[in-house]
Amino acid sequence: MMTTEKLHPYDRLMAWYLPALATIAPFIVIYALVRPHVGQGYFFTLGILLALLGQAVAWAQGWRPMPRRVTAPAVLIGLNVLAVACSMFFASRSPMFSLKHIFLPMMGIVFFSLIVIHPARRLVLERISWGLIIVAGVLSLYGVLQHFGIEILSYSAQVQKNTIIATIGHPNYLASVLGPIVFIVLSFIFARGGKRWIFLGGGLNLLILACIMLARTRAVWLGLIIAFVLVFAMGALYVRRHRLGMKPLGGLALGAFSVLLILGGLVAVALPAMNASINLKQRLTSEKEVKSRFFYWHAAIDMGLQKSVFGQGVGMFDTLFWDYTLDHQKREMGKYYYDVLPSISGRTPGHVHNEYLEVFCEQGFAGFGALIALLSFFLYFGAQAVLRQSDPAQALKGLALWGALVTILIDAVFGFPWRLPISLIVFMVVLAWLYDFIYPQEKAEAIEASANQA
């Protein structure tokens, strides 16, 4: 286990500060702001800005060496920031409004950067992951208790859809937070091994999945299933490449089978007994809901094509939506979506409910291209880095984290998790882990550099 004795006091502070920020944020509750994510967003933003101020002082004082190399992710992040800036200044009706909307995702990128430049990066990541695992356990337990009507906070009255919201404020958002953490827990099980970890970690994952099931969300299930299949396939590729035999995968397959069996039992027996049966057909074919989503996506594509280079401006989808709808309803195609209007009337949509299309709509091909490049980098090179691992435990750990990324990317097709603080934190942590696999930190060199600054 890495220790921190050789680290500069500033680095030792940050090695606790960043994990504390990620762990406390989900429990910030400011009732006056109505939606939990608003208060959590302010908390996270201010926390990151303080950390950034600290980093600035560290550079100025020489406590931390300046970044020495420019990696591909840094360039790709830079391109994304440039696309955002172009969208704000050349496309948006109100650059300050756009800045307000993109500020939280930008803070996510700063959080990612602060983690990866830390001289004890792996230690920071381990601590943050521990924090997220504890968070997931508490949120899942609270979510299940909420199903039984046990409510500790008053948010459910203010935030009306479904009571399974924990401290996060919405079932879909809660699922976006918990889904990837299933794979983070799995990564810990693989890295540590042992019966204790298998039972405790497996039990925690079952609790998380039960909570997600009670929340009756859909998108994250698709992400989990596809991610698991891909992880298994990649695992098979790894054992074949390294000629390890099927034992590591056998354990994974057995674990997956057990989980499926228990989930089947939940759906068939336990949930109906708790009056929480899932009407899968109704959830998958709720026509008006599905059609309204399609309309948002259709609108986003049309609006993006209208200003295809830099888009309509960050945050402008919501503002321009009803103008677009008015114009759309006056055209022939409007008849197809006419029946959707009552279900979406009386409010603005907020977001496209598809991160990729929202980026395309608001930042055009420039932003969309930069985003896809960045995500493709982590998907491809993350997988490559994992397959290169000589230690099977580390390889399986990396695979699980890669699976978390796949879950997040698929979940983003149906929601807006990257614009909400806690799911954004989880996303950044997963990216930082994959960064660590792609660019392993030279331990001795990093700690020595930090110590020399002290």
């Binding site: 702001l33 109505v34 800005l49 303080l50 002082v57 300050m96 503002t319 603005t348």
Partner: protein, 264 residues
Amino acid sequence: MAQNDPQGSANTVKKQYQWLLGGVVAMLAVAGIVWTSLLFIADYEYRGVKDPNASERSRAVLTQYRLTLENILKLDPTNGEIRNRYANVLGILGDKQEAVKQLKIAQHTHNAQDSLFFLADIHEKLGDFEQAESIMNDCVVINPIQIKFNDSRIRMMARKLERIDPKTDPEIYKQALDEYGQAARDWSIRAPHDPNAHLFMGNLYVRVRPLYALQAYRAYLMGLSDNVNWMNLDIDLMIAPRDAMGTIDQIINGRHAKAYKNLP
């Protein structure tokens, strides 16, 4: 000696870069902290501000409410939702020109259907009837089931009729009457539970022909009654008038209809 110490020079340059980088990042961080804090304060205060209800709307209360919203807008000028409320208060206080101006600024960042309706209402009060009607037509296109929007639109069409002299502009009057009749009939089919739907029909019957006075009388009675739930019809605000013919046929043939769409 200092001039012959390249390592020392390099270290000095490096330190300068460190200070520069640190200084720039620190300024950005401080600016971000100040801005985020202002947004937080604006959000927090705004959530605590309650619209004065009808009984509290004295000029003093509304003026204080207006000042509160103005102060919050200074902290977060791009917040269209707050600016919409601000415009609403200005309209109530009588400063309609400023209300329209604020609404148009608010629409840059917050374009809700209610603000469109309010804009139409303000234009009407300012006497800009054509603009009001055009905006109200748009309101109904994107929110066809909102009773308030439909009623306001048809009311505007009725007022338009009152402004036209049928003797001096018979063609224009006829066109306006046809449009009004179409809208009134469509709405009465879709919303028989809305008393105004019957009042609009009454107005139509009165204008069309003297023989329709009986229908007009009946429609006025239904519109002014407390319970307009004629024949227990299952209301479908989205129904197209042609689809209602099935129900009408059933009524004519003496069979009660349960719903417009799901007929027995």
